[in-house]
Symmetry: C2
Subunit: 344 residues, 2 copies
């Protein structure tokens, strides 16, 4: 994004933009330990799978700096609860666990405490840089699938705000525009937390990409009318067989796209692929507070006493996914083989 | 509903509950001429296809009482703009035009002005009574499709509030419960105007029917998980071939239900069927103010400058409709023949 970094490392703290306040207010938060970082992830001040990974890495590095340890063994023991605090913030996006694993590996392979502390900062910065590079590369590969004049539907927010980088789904769209293609976007508002209405529309307005906001329930209407040329979304976790966990409502978009003969693309860095899971059935789905459904921006919409459900993600079976766009290449069926090849 | 009538004829005015204020406040409006009635329909103070039909009939009768005319011909001339005002309130629900046609027929076939004035009141009351009877009869026929223990998904509000009667989609559910079946409901919130969250949940809580509120984007998740046994919705207009116009998002529910092998039922009185249209392609779709999408209950959710679309209805092709439940019987494919038979 212009003007500010999504996550900024300031030596003894990280500075982030509070995404729950967007688009109305640009509020910045300074987070000083792993609890503050975990809390910001839980509350969605920082959100989006790649962004969560980068934030967790910085949270880990930040907390590590504050450890007073007599030995490497002591240091590693004290790192464990830090890692656990960050890991327990949100269950679905795998990038969080992937980033923590990288950080832990660096900690374990380091020589001594002061060397490890420095190496952890470098590793977090490295995760951020690699993430941005992966975003750009996958956006280039994805942009090849976008034709001049395309109208693209997207769900939730998989832009700079979600990635602390160029963006994944929105990265592909931005890159297509940079290549001189005229593109338009239909953005689902993405209830309950309205990341589409609040964040995607905000980002696209800043990028001067024409965007029409719709409710999630309107996407099928516009697909059926022939208005939409393709659907692109991000992902929170992709199983080895190509099943995709992403924001609740994604499965619906994929079914509607398939039914209407519209390509359904998933854009995500390789770090989103969880090769340890053979299918999406094993991806844990976060159940959030029902108040997010009975209320909108703090205003009660349902009568008192109303019970609500609030699964934050769903799993789209790979049969509905036309292609998975990664920085290593574009995978199509059979995903099991194709994604393994990309990972080599 | 207990405690009050949705539309109450008071001789020189009608009294309605303002549905835009529910569930937070029970505000009643008294409407004294056809402009006030048309305005209440436009603003959705009165809504739901059968309810609009009943309201329009009463609005017609009400305005007719105020006409000062020297002859029947003069009276009929003065009735025309009244009919036009009411007809222009909303374009999609056919019950509005059907009710106005019945009222106009009564006016034309009457002997003299004072006899016609009285006959119009009787006709409006008759439309209301017939509507309630049709609701109850179709609810009985529909309840036969509901098994004990069913969990039923519904979209928007097709209950007492929408029908000035027993209800259509919710009527079927209420009747199943009255028959001693244990039923549960998942209610889509139904953005943009949240008729599900505000009205359906409110009605079902009053009926002591267990209801779980979800966002529209969650319905696919619960269908795919095997939680939903059938989907029932109302209709605003049904073409002769069984294509169904209903609240935006209905098409999506029908596609998801079909994909998951779940029956998708439409419950509506015969007055909702428009035999003059051979397919749903000809049903006019109301485009409402984009502010309904960029705002929720008056609170802005999207950034300033955001453009939004707001089609209020969509058309579900008959191939996704398992059955159309009317007071004359339950129609299934081939709808063209079956619905013609029911209309005999």
């Amino acid at each position: 994004m212009e003007g500010f970094k999504i996550i900024e490392w300031l030596g003894d703290r990280i500075k982030i933009i509070d995404q729950t306040e967007l688009p109305h207010k640009e509020v910045f938060l300074e987070l000083r330990d792993c609890h503050e970082v975990a809390d910001a992830i839980k509350k969605l001040c920082i959100r989006g799978a790649p962004d969560i990974g980068v934030a967790a890495a910085y949270g880990f590095a930040l907390a590590a700096q504050g450890i007073k340890a007599s030995s490497k063994a002591d240091f590693l023991t004290k790192l464990r609860p830090i890692s656990e605090t960050l890991a327990s913030s949100r269950p679905t996006a795998v990038n969080l666990f992937w980033a923590l694993e990288r950080m832990n590996k660096v900690a374990h392979s380091g020589k001594n405490v002061s060397q490890i502390k420095a190496a952890l900062i470098t590793e977090a910065q490295c995760i951020e840089t690699e993430n941005d590079e992966a975003n750009r590369r996958l956006s280039e590969l994805g942009a090849a699938l976008i034709q001049d004049g395309f109208t693209i539907l997207t769900h939730c927010n998989a832009g700079s705000l979600a990635t602390a980088g160029y963006g994944t789904a929105l990265g592909v769209i931005k890159m297509a525009k940079e290549q001189g293609k005229k593109v338009k976007v239909y953005a689902n508002e993405t209830r309950p937390l309205l990341q589409g209405a609040r964040l995607t529309v905000w980002e696209l307005l800043k990028e001067n990409i024409p965007v029409t906001l719709i409710t999630d329930s309107m996407a099928g209407y516009f697909m059926n009318k022939g208005v939409i040329n393709c659907v692109i979304v991000g992902a929170d976790r992709i199983a080895a067989n190509g099943d995709v966990a992403n924001k609740i409502g994604t499965y619906t978009m994929a079914v509607l796209a398939t039914e209407n003969g519209i390509p359904f693309y998933v854009a995500a860095p390789m770090s989103t692929i969880d090769f340890s899971l053979s299918s999406g059935a094993d991806i844990p789905i976060e159940e959030r507070n029902p108040d997010e459904v009975t209320h909108i921006q703090g205003i009660r919409i349902a009568p008192k006493g109303a019970k609500a459900a609030n699964p934050a993600f769903d799993v789209t079976p790979h049969c509905y996914v036309s292609a998975i766009i990664t920085e290593k290449g574009v995978a199509r069926e059979p995903y099991v083989e194709k994604m393994k090849e990309l990972a080599k």
